[in-house]
């Protein structure tokens, strides 16, 4: 899990940047704006989450997390990737709670927006996979909206099989590549 999160540090940094840019819309319970430098955004993939809290302030009373609440490793919203079965777009039971947590967060923070990326493994044809990736992104969107998130908060985009996480051609890589990503 840890490893998986570290991979998304650049994404999270982008999210932190976004928060930093919209300070006027911050609500009372949200942390003060962060100030990441642009070169940090393109930093090494393997620098750890802990490295970021120096640049942030505000803390979650329960978990002691001082970064952006979406990034709190103790919370389900820190998981930004869920996976799917081949040629399927149903949210699997083990990922339901994660999507629900994101939906609840969005419902509570109406100015927060998110892009849901849909991705596929390399099997099957490319344009069909674009359609399948969109179906996955839409399945996530529907569940987010069922928690009270609004359609205006959610953008979807499908990359089909065009942006694999793993370039290998085996079951492990395919399982990783069949995914939806929460990009805040």
């Amino acid at each position: 899990m840890k490893l998986k999160m570290i991979k998304f540090v650049p994404l999270m940094l982008a999210a932190l940047m976004f928060v930093g840019c919209s300070t006027t819309e911050q609500k009372a319970e949200e942390p003060a704006p962060v100030s990441e430098t642009p070169d940090k955004m393109h930093g090494d993939m393997d620098h750890s989450m802990q490295g970021e809290d120096a640049a942030t302030s505000g803390a979650d009373a329960a978990t002691g997390w001082t970064g952006h609440p979406l990034d709190d490793p103790a919370k389900l919203t820190s998981t930004r990737v869920i996976h799917f079965d081949f040629d399927r777009s149903e949210i699997k039971p083990e990922y339901q709670a994660i999507v629900v947590a994101h939906g609840e967060y969005l419902a509570r923070h109406s100015s927060q927006t998110v892009t849901i990326e849909g991705h596929c493994d390399e099997r099957g044809t490319r344009e069909y996979n674009i359609a399948l990736g969109e179906r996955r992104a839409n399945a996530v969107k529907r569940l987010l909206m069922a928690q009270g998130a609004t359609s205006g908060q959610i953008t979807t985009v499908s990359y089909g099989e065009e942006k694999p996480l793993e370039r290998a051609s085996n079951e492990t890589a395919w399982a990783k590549n069949r995914r939806a990503v929460f990009a805040y």
Partner: protein, 430 residues
């Protein structure tokens, strides 16, 4: 002869020689016509050109699967003109056809390539031309000679002097990939870059006149469809709706694009009139509808739909009407396109766990699997219908391959760097 000159003018804007693609025939031919292409002679002062015309013709003919060519080391004579041919030499070697020729300077910096094709048994010339050309068009001239030989001996128009578009993906700085849409000669030479991006490029489709390419670009982070002139580079964004803008396919008259849009909630097929900018919805279904292709007469659209639960091919009149399913064998059939005569469709078919290229005879419903990879996709017919080019994976790397439409001869077109995918065989130049 006038046709030849037009052809040469059309190919005048070729790039400098380079050969990133290498061709390897992976299955030998059976029942192919034995032919000897004798190395061409050089007549005249100065340096002979570096292009080996006979070798290019030899490779073309071999690649088609219709010919068995003779290695030049096995030849016992090397005539350059008909008058020097002793047909007994070639009968002894079992040759049915013989090509001889020579290259000479034309006095103004170019060349004249002369060739003759003979029937070895009858000892008769079947065809022969003198073709004026330039140093940079020597390869094109050789392909054109291959076309003339092919047509004379098989009765079918050759497709050697044609081009192929494809997408490359090359590892770039910081884990990024650099994508490019390229166009090369059908044998992989003369690659030209049409567009590059660090975001995905997809689904290149030739206009029927071979002058434009439609493609999908994610350059703004989301997909748009562009139409670009191949020679001028001028381009236009023709579809950038909310959601999917994908799978462009030109109508045979070049006036319309069939495409996939999900602007209304889920992917459906639409027909875009390029001049009027009108959009006609064709498929309306909550399932996935994508990958449209036109019949050569423009009357039908076939496409991939999973309305029956799994992806299968459906057909509908291009002006709208009732959709009918046309594939029933196999649980996954997708990305179909018609042969130039409209009698066959080629598509991706799942066989067990493998994705392979197949051909379906529409009259007999006979399905033939042509490829033997596990991740084969993007089949595209040659403009004469003789071969299908497709994308395959060899050791995790995307490569192009071609197979004769009877499945007898397969060949790899291996790029030296990066992934190659989504080949689209260009129509004949008009």
């Amino acid at each position: 002869m006038k046709k030849l000159l037009i052809f040469i003018v059309l190919l005048f804007c070729q790039m400098a020689h380079s050969a990133p693609l290498t061709i390897e025939i992976t299955e030998s031919e059976m029942g192919a016509l034995p032919i000897a292409v004798v190395p061409f002679g050089w007549q005249g002062p100065g340096q002979a050109p570096s292009e080996d015309i006979a070798a290019i013709i030899d490779a073309d003919l071999k690649r088609s699967g219709r010919f068995k060519t003779m290695p030049s080391k096995d030849m016992i004579a090397s005539p350059h003109t008909g008058t020097n041919v002793d047909f007994r030499d070639w009968r002894v070697l079992g040759m049915e056809s013989l090509v001889v020729g020579q290259v000479k300077p034309n006095g103004v910096g170019g060349y004249i390539v002369r060739f003759q094709l003979f029937d070895v048994f009858k000892g008769e010339q079947l065809t022969g031309y003198s073709i004026p050309t330039t140093a940079r068009d020597l390869r094109a001239t050789a392909h054109h000679i291959s076309d003339l030989i092919y047509e004379k001996l098989t009765g079918q128009r050759g497709a050697f002097a044609t081009r192929v578009a494809y997408i490359t993906s090359i590892a770039h700085a910081e884990g990024q990939r650099k994508m490019a849409l390229q166009v090369a000669d059908a044998d992989g030479y003369h690659p030209q870059t049409i567009v590059t991006s660090t975001e995905p490029l997809m689904s290149p489709a030739w206009s029927p006149d071979g002058l434009k390419l439609a493609y999908v670009s994610f350059e703004k982070g989301r997909p748009s469809i562009f139409v670009q002139e191949v020679y001028t580079g001028k381009r236009q964004r023709v579809a950038s709706f909310k959601g999917i803008n994908g799978a462009p396919a030109w109508s045979p008259d070049g006036r319309k694009l069939a495409l996939t849009l999900s602007k209304d909630g889920n992917p459906d097929i639409f027909i875009l009139d390029l001049a009027k900018r009108t959009l006609l919805p064709l498929s309306r279904h909550y399932a996935i509808d994508t990958e449209p292709a036109w019949s050569p007469d423009g009357k039908y659209i076939i496409w991939t739909s999973d309305r029956g639960g799994r992806p299968q091919i459906y057909r509908i009149p291009s002006g709208g009407g009732k959709a009918e399913r046309i594939t029933f064998e196999g649980k996954y059939n997708a990305r179909a396109s018609y042969s130039p005569d409209g009698k066959l469709i080629t598509m991706v078919t799942q066989i067990g766990r493998e994705f392979r290229i197949s051909v379906l005879d529409l009259a007999s419903s006979q399905l033939q699997v042509l490829s033997d990879g596990s991740l084969d996709e993007s089949p595209s017919f040659a403009p004469n219908g003789s071969m299908v080019i497709y994308a395959t994976k060899i050791k995790g790397q995307g490569e192009l391959a071609a197979v004769s439409v009877d499945g007898r001869v397969k060949q790899r077109l291996a790029l030296q760097v990066g992934d190659v995918r989504e080949p689209a065989w260009a129509p004949y130049s008009q």
